[in-house]
């Protein structure tokens, strides 16, 4: 009596748990599987169809090895095989397969060995789940990472090349130039009295050309150094930076009688010496391109979207809006050399400095009505690689 009752209750409990299990495994996108002692699938729940689009019947009677596995290293496969032969449980064995349409899918499966009462091996049972999404993301991530590493390598190499170029420019390009100008000058020194006015004029052009070439090379060098010789970003007192820039401009400021005012300036996270150069170039331009009036220059500062925006406003000759982009390009000039000297390097260097700091530089102006240069510097800084 007691035996039968117990057995019935056990059976009922078992049927209940079986029903609950079936209901659950039907709900889940994961699936349940069973294998016999020859590791052939004997059961496969419907989740496998919902997840992978493969009907459960296709698995029945086949072992894991009869269905081709891809995307697993030989060593991992061997370890899994060894675990199965030792009748050990396994956890999260991940592998790829192709479905009938040739589409790759990835599966993660875990299993437990099943033994009868006498300890005889009866097979495995376990659960599988579709990890195609994760694997695809992982692959994409790995590819992106590899690409990034490659880019970083390229960047390092191009930086090295740039540095080498800078050295070549400072030495090898200057030497022939020195020969041209020195020997032309020597020629004039020794034989000047024997040459006529035309010959003197011609040699003047040679010497002047060589001098300008030298200036261009030096400017190009300075431009390339913004990227390769920059210092770390540290908090820099904006006003101290301004005063340094103004000290460097003292001769020009005094000669022009420029009146320079400023707002209270914030502490900026930047390469301080580049910031000095930036302000110096912009204020220097404001003085250089003055109009008929005495230059009045104001350095302003305001906060905007997590960045500091500094402005340098002048009452100079202004810039035609059609040139707003061009002025920041290397060696682009808007005026003849006789009107305003220079190679056209100043604003290109400004732009490169601001770019390196992850900011933006722009200008607002009307021809004849002064101009206002703005640049933004993010408050929190991480060096942007240009």
């Amino acid at each position: 009596m007691i035996d039968i009752t117990e057995r019935r209750e056990a059976e009922k409990a078992w049927q209940g748990s079986e029903a609950r299990f079936r209901a659950l495994s039907g709900l889940s996108s994961d699936w349940y599987w069973e294998q016999d002692e020859a590791l052939r699938f004997t059961a496969m729940s419907g989740g496998v169809f919902e997840s992978l689009g493969v009907r459960p019947e296709e698995f029945i009677g086949k072992s894991r090895w009869e269905l081709p596995i891809v995307g697993v290293s030989e060593a991992v496969l061997e370890a899994h095989r060894a675990a199965l032969e030792a009748r050990k449980p396994f956890q999260d064995f991940e592998f790829g397969r192709r479905d009938a349409a040739g589409r790759m899918y990835y599966v993660s499966t875990s299993g437990q060995p099943v033994f009868d009462e006498d300890g005889g091996f009866k097979g495995y049972r376990g659960v599988g789940k579709d990890i195609t999404g994760r694997k695809t993301a992982e692959t994409a991530l790995r590819q992106a990472h590899d690409q990034l590493a490659l880019k970083a390598q390229e960047l390092a190499r191009s930086n090295d090349e740039l540095q080498q170029f800078a050295y070549v420019a400072s030495h090898d390009l200057q030497e022939p130039l020195r020969m041209i100008s020195s020997y032309t000058q020597l020629l004039m020194r020794r034989y000047g009295s024997k040459l006529d006015q035309d010959a003197k004029e011609f040699t003047d052009f040679i010497v002047d050309g060589a001098a300008r070439m030298k200036q261009l090379i030096e400017d190009l060098l300075a431009y390339s150094r913004v990227g390769t010789r920059g210092s770390e970003f540290k908090p820099a007192d904006g006003e101290a930076v301004l005063y340094k820039a103004l000290a460097n401009l003292r001769a020009a400021t005094e000669a022009s009688g420029a009146a320079i005012t400023h707002d209270p300036l914030p502490t900026l996270t930047a390469d301080e010496s580049q910031l000095v150069q930036l302000l110096q170039n912009l204020i220097g331009n404001a003085i250089k391109f003055k109009g008929s009036e005495t230059p009045r220059i104001h350095v302003g500062a305001k906060e905007e979207d997590g960045a500091w925006v500094l402005s340098i406003k002048d009452n100079g000759i202004g810039i035609d809006p059609q040139y707003f982009e061009r002025i920041f390009i290397l060696f682009q000039r808007l005026h003849g050399k006789a009107e305003y000297p220079g190679t056209g390097i100043g604003l290109a260097i400004c732009k490169k400095i601001v770019d390196r700091h992850g900011g933006r530089i722009w200008v607002e102006s009307k021809l004849g009505h002064g101009c206002c240069f703005y640049f933004s510097l993010p408050k929190t800084q991480r060096e942007a690689h240009s």
């Binding site: 400072s170 020195r178 000058q185």
Partner: protein, 152 residues
């Protein structure tokens, strides 16, 4: 130092320089100077060391009173030559003036680390170049008291 004009033997200068244009220019500049000098020319680092060690065709070379050294040279470059001179007990007393086109900070620093006696950048302008050579000449060969020639 005795009066070098007339009485004293000429000052021996070794110029280590690969560019014949620069050699000639240095000669011309020295000509304008007041110091009576013999300019010897080594076209690369290897020849400079042969000259200093009186090897091969330089067996009867005179010991220079001063060396004008370019940095970028074929075969053995100026930095190596400088390092060898300054670690050689026989040669390290000879003042070495690095005379180069390079303004690169690393070259300046490296040269002084290797015990160059001074570093001079060649100016592009002829007048300035002549002035520089003359002032090297004046400073190192008339102002400074050089070490007495070693008996060898």
């Amino acid at each position: 130092m005795t009066d070098r004009e007339g009485v004293a033997p000429p000052v021996e200068i070794l110029l280590v320089e690969d560019n014949p244009g620069d050699v000639r220019l240095t000669k011309e500049a020295l000509k304008e100077g007041k110091v009576y000098s013999n300019l010897h020319w080594a076209k690369d680092g290897v020849e400079a060391l042969e000259f200093l060690r009186r090897q091969g065709k330089h067996a009867s070379a005179s010991r220079p009173d001063i060396i004008l050294l370019d940095l970028n040279l074929p075969k053995k470059d100026g930095r190596e030559v400088l390092a060898i001179i300054k670690s050689d007990d026989q040669l390290k007393q000879i003042p070495v003036v690095v005379l180069t086109t390079s303004k690169a900070e690393e070259d300046v620093l490296r040269s002084y680390e290797l015990h160059a006696n001074c570093y001079v950048t060649k100016p592009v302008d002829l007048e300035q170049f002549i002035r520089v050579v003359k002032s090297i000449d004046r400073f190192w060969l008339t102002v400074v008291t050089l070490p007495p020639a070693k008996p060898q």
